[in-house]
Symmetry: C2
């Protein structure tokens, strides 16, 4: 195809996009998202939600701030060699756009999980989460990001879920959290901001589709599911990876 | 948790991992993967397969080479402002590890899609794909990566699928390819190397799970689906986003 045909095809595509714009809830939609990056984050925990926001950005002015301790690229490689027993090199690095000091005011704070949530070197990350969460409109955690949020101290008295395989290792980070063992995702609206937590990795896509449906439009969610050919799980209680644990009651704070 | 507890928990996790190792098909498994990066690639096309390989790397020595024209970070941002009508900043940058000149010999070449496949500035990328494909054991394309592969000239006489929404805009890149409108993924074993192509974005996860099942073990695939809480689509013909197009017959080459 020549360049004119390419451009023409793309304008048709944009035409589809602008049709979606009118269906949105103007005025209430989030504009600025911040995603916290730290060593040994999980790729899809971060880039699953970002994929949906990529398309949302084509119908609404949207910003993602990629926030980390420094502007150095952040790797998915674990800190300890014991966590990479075959000395594989399967990791990638993402470039942050902001540090904790330069991050803009956010509408939505997204906290991913990954092996790195257990690191003893996250004091500044935890401080940023602790200080930022009360100022945003929504907190979203993906996978073991809810355990990182618990380490930061923002999950006391909240209900949440997390990765079901990592469950026994990470729920101790939140002794004052009600951990829900059967949930694709959990919405806790008991305080401000509401905290939405998803189960492991790809469950974050379902949470994020529901977030788009709630704060943009169901047309937007359907449109993005078609573009990404993602078969959504729309019922938060339909959890194929549910654990049999009884709900862990909050202990005294 | 203290550091010893964290390490203990992780060693349990590694114990689970080494149990998986024994079930693998030693000797036939791929070791070196190359993922081609170009401006305006799609995030999940790249990081979906990489997520599975991240876990495979914990049970087999595995390398991913992130290959691009230069070592500069590669952005998902489209080249043309018209493709970002709301001036959103929702893009991220990934750091390549190799250029086309320094890339290692590969067992598997992975070609992602994204808006950037239409770029007129991909001559070196197309040359790399064209020259590398005949030397690898497997070619995998995700989403519109099959159209990029067609642009590179490696899809003549092959059957393949691609993103169903982008279908009319991208299949013209492969006039001598049999495009399959109902397929979660397609395996073409008619020549060497075999070429596996997936439908849009998240269909690449299903292709990759099947690849893991085929060349590593079904235990590995099940283990990773649990860790990522991904509900697999295991039937390549079960395509919820299938088009009604009749199959486009190859035209004279």
């Amino acid at each position: 195809m020549g360049m004119l045909q390419v451009l023409g095809a793309y304008l048709v595509f944009l035409g589809l996009l602008s049709a979606q714009t009118t269906a949105s809830l103007n005025g209430t939609i989030p504009k600025t998202y911040g995603i916290v990056l730290f060593r040994a984050f999980d790729s899809i925990d971060v880039l699953g939600p970002a994929e949906l926001l990529y398309f949302i950005g084509q119908v609404h002015k949207t910003e993602i701030a990629w926030i980390s301790e420094t502007l150095d690229p952040v790797t998915t490689e674990p800190l300890m060699a014991v966590m990479n027993p075959f000395n594989s090199s399967v990791f990638q690095k993402i470039v942050p756009t902001h540090t904790f000091e330069t991050a803009p005011d956010l509408d939505v704070l997204i906290i991913p999980g990954g092996a790195g949530i257990r690191s003893p070197y996250l004091n500044n990350t935890l401080k940023y989460i602790r200080e930022t969460a009360p100022k945003v409109k929504h907190v979203i955690t993906i996978c073991t990001g809810s355990a990182l949020a618990a380490r930061a101290g923002i999950m006391n008295g909240k209900k949440a879920t997390t990765n079901k395989t990592s469950w026994p290792n990470v729920i101790p980070f939140g002794p004052n959290t009600t951990w829900v063992p059967r949930a694709r995702w959990v919405e806790d609206d008991s305080g401000e901001p509401p905290i939405w937590s998803s189960s492991g990795v790809t469950a974050g896509l379902d949470l994020m589709f529901h977030f788009v449906e709630t704060f943009y439009s169901s047309e937007n969610a359907t449109w993005i599911s078609k573009l990404t050919e993602y078969v959504r799980h729309t019922d938060p209680d339909d959890d194929p990876f549910a654990r049999n644990d009884t709900i862990v009651a909050p202990t005294a704070g």
